[in-house]
Amino acid sequence: MVKMRYYVARRLLLSLVVLFGVSVITFTIARVIPSEPAAMWIGFRATKEQIEKTRIQLGLDKPLYVQYYRYMLSLLQGDWGVSIRTHAPVLRDIATFLPASLELILTGLVIALVVGLPLGVISAVKKNTPADHGARLLAIGGVSIPTFWLGMILQLVFFRILGILPVAERLDTFIELTFTRVTGFYLLDAVITGNLPALQSAAIHIILPALTLAAYPLGLTTRMIRATMMEVMSEDYIRTSRAYGIPERVVRYSYALKNAVGPTITVLPLTFAYALVETFLIESVFRWPGLGRYASIAIISADYPVIIGVTILIAMTYIVLNLAADVILAYMDPRIQLR
């Protein structure tokens, strides 16, 4: 276990270095690339005096390293700028809208894993059968389809044509009026407050967007599991476990899968970060009141502080999740700790 601690410490240090680099990149995007960084920060509709005030505030007349210093200082102090559109601090807006997106992403990822893992295993084990080909087609479709388009098609089919699922939002308007929020996760809140109609409403509202979001991770998971399982199944230790009479189902889902999930877990942070970005597209299609919708509106309305703020958030999340994934992987595959 001591080895584990060294490993974690090392990875932590590396993450900090990367975080630094990310801050430099975002700084460049925020202050260096735009031709009028002050105007972008405060909004083009601001008065000349306001723009000038911002210029001085951001230190745009000073050398780059001073600007960077001020930039980092305000970031660390929690001042991520003010949204030009909502006039609220960006950080506060992010906190407001984050739970909705998290609920969506988590639901989608759970669907992706619950379906993708067995699908990948079956595909690998029953190689070159119709089941395999079907699974592979589904997987490759998942990674090829543009999410915004998939969402719309689902809306078309399930709302317009079949009329069984709602087209947008998180809850029916009537239910929303009397709904008590606790965590911001509506499914959870409905259970906590014992609000059954709300639970039902939240559930049917989340299905389509979650499925849309799950498409890419599902495809990815299936393909990765399939690839790794095929390798693992031909290993000697699988032959050993069969030689000792272990039932085939256990061989596949325990002995083999535990060896095969490694790369998939490594890819999970990337998948989560990707999903966060995909919410920009999905939430605008489904009018889901989350971070993605907030960001996509910001893009259209040139709400620059929001764009930068969300970018920083997602990058940070990605780095942290990567660290977490490495640690989990080291825990699951004890050989890695030695490195």
Binding site: D236, Y237, T240, Y244, G245, Y255, D333, R335
Partner: protein
């Protein structure tokens, strides 16, 4: 099912195993007859690729299914034909009544599970014990095979153990359910010579302590000499000679066996050229007609390329597959 004294524990009759490969159909195994008695240690000897491992895997019906087919034959284990058993029945036999030890313990143990967990899983499966009791048993067996600090080994992962220790773990997994038959496929080939000796001693010990019957597969005649009682020599998928270690080593009959023994460098032969068997191991897709050894045999006759000699018994349990010899003795 009880065994009469002369009834063999394992008997292989007319076994033919083929593999469909890109290059054609590989006729891997073609065994007339092979017998193993209870309490006996039989050595299955031959060059790499002669079909020894395939034979062992066939006993446990572990031949990969698309690709490998068991075309014909019977494998009688305590009188029951294993080849006619369903998969579910075989699973009850594997690890419980017949166990196998594999060649490379590093790749044969699952790297992401603790060694102790892998071993106790088998006991839980076959002996219907609780996890705690299974763990107790595993620790006992670990001690039996001579593993130092069994408790620590239990918690270890395969890559944390040395080669010798890993092989001991494999052996303990194999004997943990008291199998009737232990098949050891080149158990020492992946180990250093010093560890080799230890493992062989261990196997001998176990054989004496628990009366295990062992089928030892190896290419190393020295190993055979050390712990086997009977020997079966395989060449290109068939048994060419069978007998006790004494009679094979002192009076080898088949030309292949003779040449094999001659190839072993002995003290006193220093400075002389090493003997080798000229020619190459035949392709099993297109094996030589008749006796598969005839292209390399110094005593080849016309008959040898026309038909395959069966195993003949020279009267004292010494069997040989060669036209040079006739039933009951004489050449």
């Amino acid at each position: 099912m009880g065994l009469r004294a002369e009834e063999p524990l394992l008997e292989i009759k007319n076994l033919k195993v083929c593999f469909n490969t890109y290059y054609g159909v590989v006729k891997a195994v073609d065994i007339d007859h092979l017998k193993l008695l209870k309490g006996e240690t039989l050595g299955l000897v031959g060059e790499t690729g002669c079909g020894k491992t395939v034979t062992a895997l066939t006993v446990l019906k572990l031949i990969p299914s698309p690709g490998g087919t068991i075309e014909d034959g019977e494998i009688l284990f305590k009188g029951e034909n294993l080849l006619s058993k369903k998969e579910a029945e075989m699973r009850k036999i594997r690890g419980k009544r017949i166990s196998m030890i594999f060649q490379d313990p590093m790749s044969s143990l699952n790297p992401v599970f603790r060694v102790g967990d892998q071993a106790s899983r088998i006991i839980v499966l076959h002996q219907d014990l609780q996890e705690k009791e299974a763990k107790e048993k595993v620790l006992q067996v670990f001690e039996l095979v001579g593993l130092p600090s069994p408790a620590r080994v239990f918690e270890s992962y395969p890559h944390e153990l040395s080669g010798g220790m890993r092989q001991r773990v494999m052996i303990s997994m194999a004997i943990s359910c008291n199998p009737d038959l232990l098949i050891a496929d080149e158990p020492t080939s992946a180990l250093d010579v010093t560890i080799q000796a230890q493992i062989l001693r261990l196997l001998k010990d176990l054989r004496d302590k628990i009366g295990a019957s062992i089928m030892l597969i190896t290419h190393d005649l020295a190993v055979v000499a050390q712990i086997c009682e009977k020997v079966a020599v395989m060449y290109a998928g068939s048994i060419v000679e069978f007998g006790t270690v004494e009679s094979i080593f002192s009076r080898p009959l088949h030309p292949y066996t003779k040449m094999l023994l001659e190839c072993i460098p002995r003290p006193g032969t220093r400075g002389r050229k090493l003997t080798a068997i000229h020619g190459f191991v035949p392709s099993l897709v297109d094996p030589p007609p008749g006796c598969r050894f005839h292209p390399r045999c110094p005593h080849v006759t016309d008959l040898c390329s026309k038909s395959r000699p069966g195993l003949v018994d020279l009267g004292d349990g010494h069997l040989v597959s060669c036209f040079l010899y006739k039933q009951g003795g004489g050449a």
